[in-house]
Amino acid sequence: MTLSIEQRREHRLTTIEKSLARRHRKENGFRRLGLAAVLAGLTLVTILFASILTKGIPAFWQATLYTEIHFDPEVIDLPPAPVREAGETPYAFNERHTQWMTQVGLVNWQSLIDASLERALGEEVEPRQLRDLRALVASGERYALRDRFIADPSLLGDTVTIKMLAGADVDVWVKGNIDRDLPDARQQLSPQSRAWIDVLQDEDVLRQSFSTALFVNTDSRSSLASAGLAGAFMGSLFMMLVVIALSVPIGVSSAIYLEEFAPKNRLTDLIEININNLAAVPSIVFGLLGASIFIGYLGLPISAPLVGGLVLTLMTLPTIIIATRASLRSIPPSIRQAALGIGASRVQTVFHHVLPLALPGILTGSILGVAQALGETAPLLLIGMNAFVANVPGTPLEQSTALPVQIYLWQGNELRNFFEARTSAAIIVLLGLMLSLNALAIWLRKKFETRW
């Protein structure tokens, strides 16, 4: 069959038109796929933050009791606190002090709380109901009461309004984190306790109040409602101080050496490859290093922020070195040539001219490195920082945990419906710290950014 030129052209055009439509459809499909991927990423960020915020923010407020405590002299029957006498050895004084503390510990502080609750409820509580009554108050509050009295013995005989945390189960109930229609056997609180909660809420004795406990208390196992982040926060702070004090100077110096002074030879090549590899070594491997060398070989104390700081330093070093090198490399050679040209030595060139110009970049990289170290968990588990610590560490050599490790410990707590919120609150605190560090880094970069 022969076609005229016209027909052939016609035919070709229709083919092209058809294929063009198909190709444009494909083009649009591809573009939509890309957009979908971007949107998926954005959605995931949104879901992540939304889920943590909705869970965590309510946990910053906690069910709290405002009751009048009467420091009954009949219950608190104590001699005055011992004072250290001249010529007494610390050990002997310690012994006397311990004796006195034992006496303080024997005072029935709980009965003061029981009595005040009875007054608030306006009814006599029978002895067999004491359990239900005590379930209302966090069990750590009697120690808080004791410490308050030790700090101020003049309270004896007074009646003061005191803020006490309600028990964790009460918080769960008040916030509705447990199904109220569950049968009694599966409820965390007895029917009697629940009835009392309603009474106390009606009288405004029990209300939601901002939880300072979350920030000023340490972790607690016996009194779950008073568990706080103070110990973990100090541990993280000590570690970050160690990291800043070690990794920034060492990282920056080694980057300066590699970028500005190192001769091009096999050894420096090796160091360079080595640093790139270290940056990609899984963090848990650094934990193994810490466990074996710092604790096993050097005998440094277990669970100490110092060891954690050392491990995190080694982990952050490559990040800081790489960032510093990139920052040094972005300084144009003309600066160096000009300095060398008017007779500066290489060290002078670097320290007087290159380094000041590279400083914003170095700072940004260092802050990002420290932020990364702040959120790291896995290596800390291997050097024993997941131990339960009930004190705020005073030095980097004392036992401690860290913020991310505290999150790990809390998420594993059996009392799920209380600690899921508390963990989210801890995550908000950690993310808040990390995001502000990141924001600082971005601000520094924006403020001092120079385009050559």
């Binding site: 190709r23 083009e27 499909g29 591809f30 573009r31 890309g34 991927a37 971007v38 998926a40 990423g41 995931l44 960020v45 992540l48 050895t89 610390p90 050990y91 002997a92 060492i250 990282g251 110096s253 080694s254 980057a255 050496y257 002074f261 190192a262 160091i271 490859i273 590899n277 990609a280 070594v281 899984p282 963090s283 848990i284 491997v285 650094f286 193994l288 290093l289 074996s292 096993g296 070093l317 070195i321 030595s345 290489r346 060290v347 932020a371 702040l374 959120g375 790291e376 968990t377 896995a378 291997l382 024993g384 997941n386 991310p404 790990y408 998420q411 963990t423 993310l431 990390m434 995001l435």
Partner: protein
């Protein structure tokens, strides 16, 4: 004199030395025809270094060995039959009591006559030690100061000396990276070899059962340490993670690099990169509280039973974590493809997507593969997500909706709480760590080589 006071003294001496060097060099240069080699500040610094460095070195050495020396001397002074009658641990307790007596803390019961005598001896030795340390360091510092100050002359090349010290210090810092690697390799190799003295390497690397038992069960009840179930779990979780991260990350990178308006790019890119800065423990918690229940709800809808903690849960969370990693690496690589290639394809009439799929991506392929390998190595080494969300079930099976265990999870399980480095139960963590280190190192090296080759291609 306490160590802190000693350090303060040395620092003050160094400040004095700097000042003396400065004034001395100025005095030397006061003649009109005398020209110093360096500026006075360098002479000051050099004198301060001569004063401080040897003294500090001495101080460090002393601090390392002094305590041991004092202990040895005190033990020698104790009655011989007493020392002979004590075991090592009892001797340690005794020494602790003596130390407590010596520094005035006191002990329960006030201490026996021998203890009190030893404590007095120890206190005396410590005082002597501290005083002599202070004296010796002071002498060394002053000698260095005087020596350096007297050498100040117009010909002394102070700047060169100072700069050499600085360069050496810089070089020493960069050696720390090497020492870290050596430390990692040696510590893991050492402990892993100890592990292999309990368990044959073949049983470890090719064993199909992981059942370590507890170390308290005694050496007779040694468990089975097969690596394969853990390796399988690691692979399964990582593959799921990559299946999530690669499509989303790569498409995001392509869209950002080729289609997105500058406005969208400037907004969406930092937001997605936030994902990279979130600590992994947060992803773990997210997996446990959101992804796991969501999957299990989906399973209920379809009528199958899905556990909240499973390879799938952990894999999806890990995939979300590495999306920004994949997308930013791919973005860099895609933007590196020369414009001429793109223009050529567009000039021939290809649509944008055809250009990307048939020209840009093939050209960028080696780099993108490198990025995937880096992402894979990150997924394999990730710990907290799998600790929380993978369910810890070290069994060989092919169901992604079942719980698995990975190498990293097992390291954490075997080494937390128990720091007894003598049982195979905890030593196995180091053998696992070594395996992990070698795998990730291999992936990284391959990735770096591939990426570097690719860079050269277009430079």
């Amino acid at each position: 004199m306490s160590n802190l006071a000693l350090i303060a003294m040395l620092l003050m001496l160094m400040a004095l030395a700097y000042h003396l060097g400065l004034t001395r060099s100025r005095a030397v240069a006061s003649h009109r025809d005398v020209r110093l080699h360096s500026r006075p500040g360098y002479y000051g610094t050099l004198v301060a270094l001569w004063c401080g460095l040897p003294a500090f070195a001495l101080f460090l050495l002393w601090s390392l060995f002094a305590a041991q020396l004092v202990d040895t001397l005190v033990v020698q002074q104790l009655p011989v039959d007493l020392v002979a009658s004590l075991s090592d641990r009892e001797l340690q307790t005794l020494m602790r009591r003596i130390a407590a007596l010596a520094d005035g803390r006191g002990v329960a019961g006030g201490g026996s006559p021998e203890e009190l005598a030893a404590a007095a001896h120890m206190a005396r030795l410590e005082t002597i030690g501290q005083l002599s340390l202070a004296a010796v360091t002071a002498v060394v510092a002053v000698v260095g100061l005087v020596f350096a100050r007297r050498r100040i002359s117009p010909h002394w090349q102070a700047r060169n000396h100072v700069e050499r010290v600085i360069t050496i210090a810089l070089g020493a810092s960069s050696a720390i990276a090497i020492f870290t690697t050596i430390g990692i390799v040696l510590s893991m190799l050492g402990e892993a070899l100890r592990f292999f003295s309990f368990i044959h390497p073949a049983d470890f690397f090719f064993g199909t059962v992981w059942n370590p038992r507890f170390s308290s069960a005694g050496a007779g009840a040694q468990g089975q340490f097969g690596l394969l179930p853990l390796l399988w779990g690691t692979l399964m979780v990582s593959v799921i993670a990559l299946l999530v991260a690669i499509p989303v990350g790569l498409m995001t990178a392509i869209y950002m690099a080729e289609y997105a308006s500058p406005w969208l790019r400037s907004v969406a890119k930092p937001i997605i990169e936030i994902l990279a800065g979130i600590p992994t423990i947060v992803y773990g918690f997210f997996a446990l509280t959101v992804i796991g229940p969501f999957l299990s709800m989906l399973g209920d809808l379809v009528g199958i039973n899905i556990r909240t903690t499973s390879a799938m849960t952990a894999g999806i969370a890990m995939g979300i974590m590495i999306i920004p990693f994949v997308s930013s690496l791919s973005d860099d690589i895609i933007t590196q493809v020369p414009k001429s290639l793109r223009d050529g394809a567009l000039g021939l009439g290809a649509t944008k997507s055809e250009t990307i799929r048939q020209v840009v991506l093939p050209a960028a392929l080696p780099g993108i593969v490198g990025a995937f390998l880096l992402a894979a190595s990150r997924a394999i080494g990730e710990t907290m997500i799998v600790v929380l969300a993978a369910g810890n079930n070290p069994v060989l099976h092919a169901n992604p909706f079942e719980a698995v265990s990975t190498i990293t999870v097992t390291i954490v399980n075997q080494l937390t709480g128990d720091m007894d480095f003598a049982s195979p139960q905890s030593l196995v963590a180091f053998a696992l760590g070594l395996t992990l280190f070698v795998i990730t190192l291999g992936l990284n090296v391959i990735a770096l080589v591939v990426v570097r080759k690719y860079r050269q291609q277009y430079e």
